[in-house]
Symmetry: C2
Subunit: 329 residues, 2 copies
């Protein structure tokens, strides 16, 4: 391993979420040497690109050495080349040519792709999935993102959109999802799911949800997954029940993914993973009961992600480094 | 391509099902040069091994040239090495050392693995999945089997049991499955599912199921998926409805697999696939409506398998040929 701070070896990683553009200069060993961020105006493609360019300029100016390129992970579905954002539930992009636009503006080698794919790659390179022959990384945020690393390579599917298991249907005629379908997994096992169930309970049984409602001045519709997570951390029993329910749905989905893909390890990242064993214990218990062939076959290890909120930018930086090394950026 | 009948190039393929052991001498181009079969006494591991040995002896004696080895696909879950049958819902094996036993008896290079994996490999090498970078092969028989071919390799997961999507849960608290869980996909989209729904309808509405019941002397419990398939082929309207329902469940599951894996092609094999467009048309329609991100992303092609009932033995033969070439058999 070269000196992590050596000139020419660091790369720039960018993570575009629904509310912010976060960037970092990342050394080959995964160390984040410097960071910068801008707010994302989600309604404008042009302003999002401006924010990306501003973050790149700021970091490049502050960084002494050469940067091998810029890796960009965004909350959208990309085609296989990364040239086109096919679809983004939370941002303005529809068939947008993000990669081409950024190539013109930044004049640097680029990797552009899905943020959860980038985070998955980071966990494989530096975190909880290190050394696994087949790792699934499940990012539990407002929704569910995912990435697949097999035999040392990120696997993005035939059209670039693998790992979107947040939209596998787990309940026929279930909750409506932003993707237009009903019953998607992310409507039951995500931060949004936690908020949604809390709001339903608060509307139906305001008395039972009294302590949760105190957090939002009695306005049930304002309850979010974050409110429930904080209440659970404070020991609120209803909140703990709701978190457990999310954990059970998480474990059931992992059992389904294990039937399909038989991974060595499943890494749980994203904001909801910060609840730790409150959500992982019920998930592991459910998996142990629901894994097809249980008792006769090993199941996957289920572990918490190690890289935290910077996983996306760390992974994107390493992916552009890899693309440059392979002559693909 | 060498002469398919050339000495030293053919391999022996064996397919072990719930009722029979079928074997074939298979040329490198996939041509089946000779076949043999024995009944499988499902309740005895020893007798199944006897039947395998008898088929191998018969075919080897009749075949002029050298055989590079024996590939065995069986309706069970194997560990990654093929050394151990972990679990078989329809056969007697539980942690059985099939590979070791066969190695001792046959004294030939061996590949041992899941029958649906072998069939998937055959479709990739010689059939409907040829040239695909990521192909999922779904075998609709009494249950649902599956195999994954990615970048020219069969992918069996970290523990050897990938592709068991027949046991992903599609209905919470749904129909009981032989695997011990409830709501597995194969309880809704398989030959068994077809029979099960027919029996339920016949019990609940004997009048509506009158024409189906004529086929089994009025005994609803005797109705099988095959009865329904024959009735559908004869134009029976209830049978057609039931086949359509299986097709819709098939399409929904393909949409889920597309969200997870984003394959280029999904190949439908097994006995139920012989219903052709009766089951594939509703499957494709459902997929078109249920694919997450539809309209913004390509979905997989859904096609019928090309190799028919011999896919398993053809694939097993090629897998032992490949294993020998790579020094792994």
């Amino acid at each position: 391993m070269t000196d992590p701070g050596a000139a020419g070896s660091a790369a720039l990683g960018i993570d575009i979420g629904g509310t912010k553009v976060a960037g970092g200069v990342v050394a080959p060993d995964g160390t984040v040497l410097a960071t910068a961020r801008r707010a994302t105006p989600g309604s404008s493609v042009r302003q999002t690109e401006d924010a990306i360019a501003a973050v790149v300029d700021e970091l490049a100016a502050a960084h002494d050495g050469d940067l091998v390129g810029v890796g960009v992970g965004a909350a959208g579905w990309f085609d296989r080349t990364g040239d086109t954002v096919l679809f983004s539930p939370h941002l303005a992009w529809r068939n947008s040519t993000l990669r081409k636009d950024l190539a013109v503006r930044l004049q640097r080698p680029l990797w552009v792709g899905n943020d959860a794919d980038a985070a998955a790659w980071a966990e494989y390179r530096y975190g909880a999935a290190r050394g696994a022959d087949l790792a699934l990384v499940i990012t539990l945020g407002t929704g569910i993102g995912g990435g697949i690393v097999l035999d040392g390579r990120l696997r993005r599917g035939s059209h670039g959109v693998a790992g979107e298991w947040g939209h596998m249907r787990v309940v026929p005629d279930g909750r409506l999802c932003a993707c237009g379908n009903r019953g998607c997994w992310e409507q039951y096992a995500s931060g949004n799911a936690l908020g949604q169930t809390a709001r339903e309970v608060a509307h139906t049984s305001p008395a039972a949800a009294g302590r949760l409602l105190e957090r939002v001045d009695g306005q049930a519709d304002r309850l979010t997954g974050e409110d429930v997570a904080r209440a659970a951390a404070d020991g609120d029993s209803l909140a703990l029940e709701l978190v457990t329910e999310v954990g059970v749905w998480l474990g059931q989905g992992i059992a389904d993914l294990a039937a399909i893909l038989d991974p060595e390890v499943v890494v749980i990242g994203g904001a909801v993973s910060q609840l730790g064993d409150m959500v992982l214990d019920p998930a592991r218990q459910r998996l142990a009961r629901a894994l097809p062939g249980r008792g006769f076959r090993p199941g996957p290890r289920v572990v918490v992600a190690e890289l935290g909120p910077q996983a996306g930018l760390v992974g994107a930086a390493d992916l552009v480094r890899q693309a440059v090394a392979e002559g693909e950026a």
